[in-house]
Amino acid sequence: MVSKSKKSDYKVIGTRPIRHDGYDKVTGRAQYGADIKLPGMIYGAVLRSPHAHAKIKKIDISVAEKMKGVFAVMTAKDLPRLSDKQRGNSEESGSEKHLSENVMAMDKVLYKGHVVAAISAKDVNTAREAVKKIVVDYEVLKPVINVDQAMKKGAPILHEDFVGDHLGKKVKNTNVATFNKYTTGNTDEGFRKAHLIIEKEVELQTVHQGYIEPHNGTAIWDEDDRVKIWTSTQGSFANRDSVSKVLNLDVSRVKVTPLEIGGGFGGKIPVYLEPIAAVLSKKSRRPVQLVMSRTDVFDASGPAPGGKVIVKIGVDKDGKMLAGYADIRLEAGGYPEAFIEAAAKCVFSCYDIPAMEIEAYDVLVNKPSSAPYRAPGSPQVAFATETVVDEICRKLNMDLIDFRLLNVAEKGTRTALGPKYRKIGLKQVLEAAKKSDHWQSNLEKNPKSGKLRGRGIASGYWFNIGEKSAVNLSLNMDGTVILTEGSTDIGGSRASIAMQAAEVLGVKAESVRPSVVDTDSIGHTDVTGGSRTTYATGYAAYKAAHMLIDEITNKAAKIWDLSEDEIIYSDGVISSKTDSELRMTLREFADKNPFGPVVSSASVDLEEAAGGFGTHIVDLEIDPETGKTDVIRYTVLQDVGKAIHPAYVEGQLQGGATQGIGWALNEEYFMSDQGTMLNSSYLDYRMPIALDLPMIETILVEVPSEDHPFGVRGVGETPICPPVPAISNAVNDAIGSRILSTPIKASKILNKLKSM
């Protein structure tokens, strides 16, 4: 791995300390959701629909509820009926009604695996057996499982009572939840003047985030109507909000304790089991725990949308882009939200194009309701755009990086949605890519093995949301600092947040001990998502650390009977400006301070920061006998703003690339015509493992963000955007023909080779 970090005066930032939670994680002591055991706890199981699309005519629970060991049976009748009121404006989108119905179906099931009832019992096996005794009378309906089927005239309609929004028109009896359009400049004129126009359509299958830990939820509904939840979530406050909405309780009656999280990638923002556990607890008067199986996770938690994307770009004879057009159709699953706005924002994000037109469709299909997955919507559209860019370069015989540099988006470039970019670093990334060892190396295209080799390159973008975060600091008597925060730590954010406080305080990273606490113990903190945590919660830690220094200097002044402006705090040492004898370390101060606890508390509500851009280079090798593709070299370059903990930044880049490689080559929801996923286990849903991949090289390009005191940019999502087109372009380089549907699996390559 190569790091191109610039030297700076930072003492903590840019170093690689052992993560604070590392020992608990590697020794197995860290507590995850299913590890929680409460006195008197019983277990729940849910009944899931075997049909992708059906009306629920009747549910008979009479046999199940009489079974020995069963405490309670629950159906959607136990949940309040909610309105169409829209929720929030960031991570928690969609209507309250749909939120509730996705937890448990009311009148209709919209995907195979949709929950229709639940049971609590003395143990898991009893609960599972009892669930089998629930009898549901379904009227089975024809499912629609892709955008073409769903948008076809006369298609079965998922929501008869739903009104779609098509450019402001209210439309009934439609599976298109939203049709939106974005325009800037005059695309007709741009295409008319173009010397070359390239248009490509790509198709993507549904894929899953593939987090290791399945969803879980443990709840107690107290006698005073207070609900306590223990769960694996990317946002305890978002979880609290969702649970309180589904149960129609004030948020103050719900307390969520986030446990350690075994991956999320966006998929652990929605709630699934927690409200069910709460209702079962109320009915059973016991704590109740539910845990999904892997098949449940695939069948019924939110995957990334599949769909179709068309991109057309016109360029002049020198390769300057004149106009771009995109048609984006993404699968929302059973309820609206296919991230089409994000997709529209990202589709031309890497380029300075004077005229753009984007049409985007949020399409309901009989699959599990989509959830965010690392840069939701961006990988899908990057596949189309970067394919077109690659094709233009080949037609014009232009260098793949020089073409991108000619059209690169920079500060001041107007984006497709309208606002202009602030300071961004794609140009620097492309320049670093051009100089990189990987790009400069020669790829032997025809090795003696007879395999076919190709090289591909692609760029991608994800923005960096801000939102709300809070941090509390407390000075211990030994001079160390306790930091409490509300951000779930998925990728080492405890360390990256503590390091920012440590940098301000002038102490070692190890001297700041971070803890992620429950919703009663910290100010509102939004989800760990949108690449926001190190940026926003880190900013709160930065502010809290400065406030702690103010507290320290205030109390030190009292100890020495000086005024506050006579006190200097530097690198963990407190001294007097006027008397060189007056000097004490933070530890000495903490030990002798008689003026009460030294604490601080800070919060932020940040706007979106300028986002991150990445460019990936891949070399791959295809066996013409079997069609198998091996990635033989892979380099990720990304503008990371300022890498607080470079090892974790590199880990994010490698992880994102790995998931993208899986998306490109192997992964798909393999669906039957009846809407059943046929490969809902890790045996059949083939994610890349370490043996499948080379060491992924990383080059960190640091163009500091203007929106953060240390220049932090979100880094977690951008790296999943370029892999699909980079690999697709490399396959084209290797075999001389494009495969424009994911996954680019062996059978498709063999068929393509046979047809050539």
Binding site: G88, N180, F339, P372, P419
Partner: protein, 87 residues
Amino acid sequence: MIKVFLPYKTRKIFNLPVEVDAEGNNLRNLIEFLDKKYPGLKQELVDEDKLIPTISAVIDGRTTKLGLIQKLDNVSEIHFLPSIAGG
């Protein structure tokens, strides 16, 4: 005058060009100005005296967190955009 860029569907409903001029010392007054000029436009942006949850106002490249009370000193352009969820 401030250049205002409205969502495509709002432009379509009111038959407006890509950008329109408006004025106001804060976002509330700017929207009132637009509503006087294009009656009914306010309801596309505001509900219960707040920006509609699914709408963001981006003021010279920065999304306001203050909503209708956002002051508009030396502002050159405002984009009203659909809010975007992330992962």
